[in-house]
């Protein structure tokens, strides 16, 4: 987790940069990104024909050569600024203006460890694929990778890999199994027809994934070993942070439910179950679920909330102590936040993932209403409607909220007492 104690929680308002001025300095300025602590804002800028750079707080990076291409600009959780950039068809990961040494033919899928100390990318060189973490590519590469993942501590990376080459339309060879998962580049011993979304356990020592055994039998594999039970379908597994057991949504005869270590966990059945999550603090297991067709909710330990949403439920999250859950619920194209089965009164055009205060008494979220962006706390809107805002951050004591916003083209960092909402 990012340490927020050293951030400036006192200065009420800072105008960090005037993006209007950037626009007059460059041919164009792409969409900006604010740093987690709000002190910096950055964007990819075009400086000339096929020439790009990154501008941060009004200052362009000092780079030897302009980039011919640049994309995927993001701040890591620890506040470093990363872009994937190319010159002469050579791609490099550039961190705070300094390129990594290793050059690739292509880079994509930028991801970070929880604390941001590890930066991972998917790479391709001469048609060979692997991941690279902190400038160290895997020793082995493959003809295809997908579903990249990084353990929370950043020490282990994994992806689906193709282990057997397939010629055009070799469907029966495909059905014998040509895919596996690789951890730090080393593949499992077993091949499957398909391998998909995977997850590491808390210490990164185990990897679980969805697998298809033939055209129609699905199950979960852990470190290459498939569960004994066969399911009609499965979704992404996760590890229980306290018990190391594997929990995954599975489709059985009478609907979807959760299974744990190859045993059915919930008695209840649903029209859909996915995005399951476990609270390390409370041991509660919850998932987004459809009680029937077009009725979406959250089920906690197998029991659905009474409230349902017609369009969808997304972005469910536990409170820090694991006693509450908040999510986004959507009905007839209108978005709101729902907390333990009770929806906010405000309806928005878009809502971002809800954020709990450290003590769980408040929920804040970025919202879009009538084409403007703002922040809402416990269902009440901030008094500013902005061109852009970033997701709100609570101070470590929960008394203040960091609001990062663009108003009339100017980027502001504000610290606002929660009581003012």
């Amino acid at each position: 987790m990012t340490d927020k104690t050293n951030w400036d929680w006192e200065t009420k308002e800072k105008q960090i940069s005037d993006l209007n001025e950037w626009k007059s300095s460059y041919n164009w300025v792409e969409e900006p990104y604010a740093s987690p602590d709000g002190e910096k804002i950055a964007a990819i800028v075009n400086t000339d024909d096929m020439e790009f750079n990154v501008c941060e707080n009004s200052k362009a990076w000092e780079i030897e050569e302009p980039f011919e291409k640049a994309y995927s600009l993001r701040y890591s959780p620890d506040g470093r600024l990363i872009v994937l950039a190319a010159a002469d068809d050579e791609w490099k990961t550039v961190v705070d203006g300094k390129p990594w040494e290793t050059i690739f033919d292509f880079l994509w899928d930028l991801r970070f460890s929880k604390d941001g100390k590890a930066i991972a990318v998917a790479t391709q060189t001469d048609g060979e694929y692997c991941m690279a973490v902190n400038d160290v590519p895997w020793k082995d590469s493959y003809s295809f990778i997908t579903c990249m993942t990084l353990s929370d501590d950043g020490k282990n990376s994994g992806s689906v890999v193709q282990t057997i080459n397939l010629g055009q339309a070799e469907v029966f060879k495909f059905q014998k199994g040509a895919f596996s998962a690789a951890v730090n580049g080393v593949p499992w011993d077993t091949n499957f027809v398909n391998v998909w979304n995977m997850a590491f356990n808390a210490d990164g020592s185990k990897l679980a994934a969805e697998v298809r055994l033939n055209l129609y039998d699905y199950t979960i594999a852990v470190d290459g070993k498939a569960w004994n039970s066969i399911y009609g379908c499965v979704w992404e597994p996760i590890f229980h942070p306290n018990t190391n057991s594997v929990i995954a949504p599975v489709k059985v005869k009478d609907g979807w439910t959760l299974a744990q270590d190859d045993n059915i966990l919930w008695d209840s059945r649903f029209a859909q179950v996915w995005h399951q999550m476990v609270s390390r603090q409370s041991d509660k297991i919850a998932a987004i679920a459809a009680t029937s067709y077009g009725k979406w909710t959250v089920a906690v330990d197998g029991k659905p909330w009474d409230i349902t949403f017609g369009d969808m439920v997304t972005d469910a999250v536990f409170s820090p102590d694991g006693t509450q859950i908040a999510c986004i619920g959507t009905d007839s194209g209108k978005y709101t936040i729902c907390n333990d089965g009770k929806a906010w009164d405000i309806k928005c055009d878009m809502v971002w993932k809800p954020v709990f205060s450290p003590d769980g008494s408040k929920i804040a979220a970025k919202i879009d209403k009538n084409g403007k962006r703002t922040i809402a706390v416990n269902g009440k809107l901030w008094n500013k409607m902005c061109d852009e805002v970033w997701e709100p951050v609570f101070s470590p004591d929960g008394s203040k909220i960091l609001c990062r916003s663009v108003e009339d083209g100017k980027y502001y960092r504000r610290v606002i007492p929660v009581s003012e909402f």
Binding site: N46, S72, F106, Q175, V193, N194, Y216, Y293, G310, D368
Partner: protein, 443 residues
Amino acid sequence: MALPYIEYEKNIIDEGLETGMKNLTQERIDKALAKVLDGETGAKLKAYVDTCVHCGLCSDACHMYLSTKRDPTLTPAGKVKRSLSVLLENRGNITPEIIKKVSIVASTECNLCKRCVHYCPFGIDIAYMMSVVRRICHLCGVTPLYIQDTAHSHAVTQNQMWVKEDEWIDTLQWQEEDAREEIPDCRIPLDKEGADFMYSVIGPEPKFLAQLLYQTAIIFNTAGLNWTMPSCPGWDNSDMAMFTGDSEIMGRNKRFHYEAAQRLKVKRIVMGECGHAFRSVWDMGNRWLGWGMPPVPMVHAIEFYYDLLKSGKIKVKEKYKKSVTLHDPCNTIRGMGLHEKARYVVNELCENFIEMHPNREHNYCCNAGGGVINCGPPFKKKRVATNRIKAQQIADTGAEILITPCHNCHSGMEDIIGDYGVGMHVKFINDIMYEVMEKPEIE
């Protein structure tokens, strides 16, 4: 002028069907039948089977029947008789050979176009019945080779064409770079969170038809739209797994698609000119997952172009001069009723629009849809031969250009135009809009 009838080989050998049949066991057949007939189908299938009175009124709906000197085996009811009825009536005695035979009927002799539903006094949905047969064949592993390979591509890459993740991004960046020759600050914004909409396409666009991405970039940048495309899997809205009966892969792909949009926090998805993909995102895949409607509002290109022209965001510099006719793709016209909007768009863009007859929801199918064209070269001649009526219909318009706002229709039409010698070119609306629109002046 009357076009000739084309003879075709009835006994087509397809490796997917032959090897699938050889690998098939009795136990697997019984399991597949039990899963589908006892588990997945219910009152709907029973009602259709019990209600059909074999009156034959649906026969004249089917382009295959009409194209083949009225071959009775190709009537909608005749196809049911040769596939689903065989399975229902002989359950317990179904052999691998029978599965192969019914797979040929369901996969290559019906486009799931639903024209016949309009002709049946009871509204019996033959397309649904054919889909049930395809599902059984999928669970038996007996599906034509090329479409099975495409379903495998969907399973591995979440796109139709085995396009790798870097190839997708690279193609977009290349098109963006080329488009800057016309609009210096033109962008194809990748992963722009909070954009108004996500634009999604089908696998063949980056693979073979990258100019459509280029043209779209010019159209959207000219209109000043706030849009994005995902750099990750989920960008492809197409779905051959839906047509092989692999519902699980269909659902998985639609989940990737909609979750890409959810992660990007877009208010809606706009999709390119594809018909079957619309069926998958609007009706089939979303519902298999439990969403009643698309969880993120979904707009087909026809409707989006209509809005762009109606709102004046795109203005026409000079209308297209050549005479054009318009094909009505089954999935967006019979499936969604976008025919009047399509005509508005064509009339706004083109000076000389000639209707083909019949038209709108009564239009004939292209015979490529429903995955039939994706069954590949072994079935091409049969596909062309069983759509003489469509070739005749478009030839009778005398138009120079055929507009088909659907990828599968596009390819199918090119085949019949070529083989029947109809002198016509096929275009997407996108091609014509790009050609006739006002573009920003370069300073």
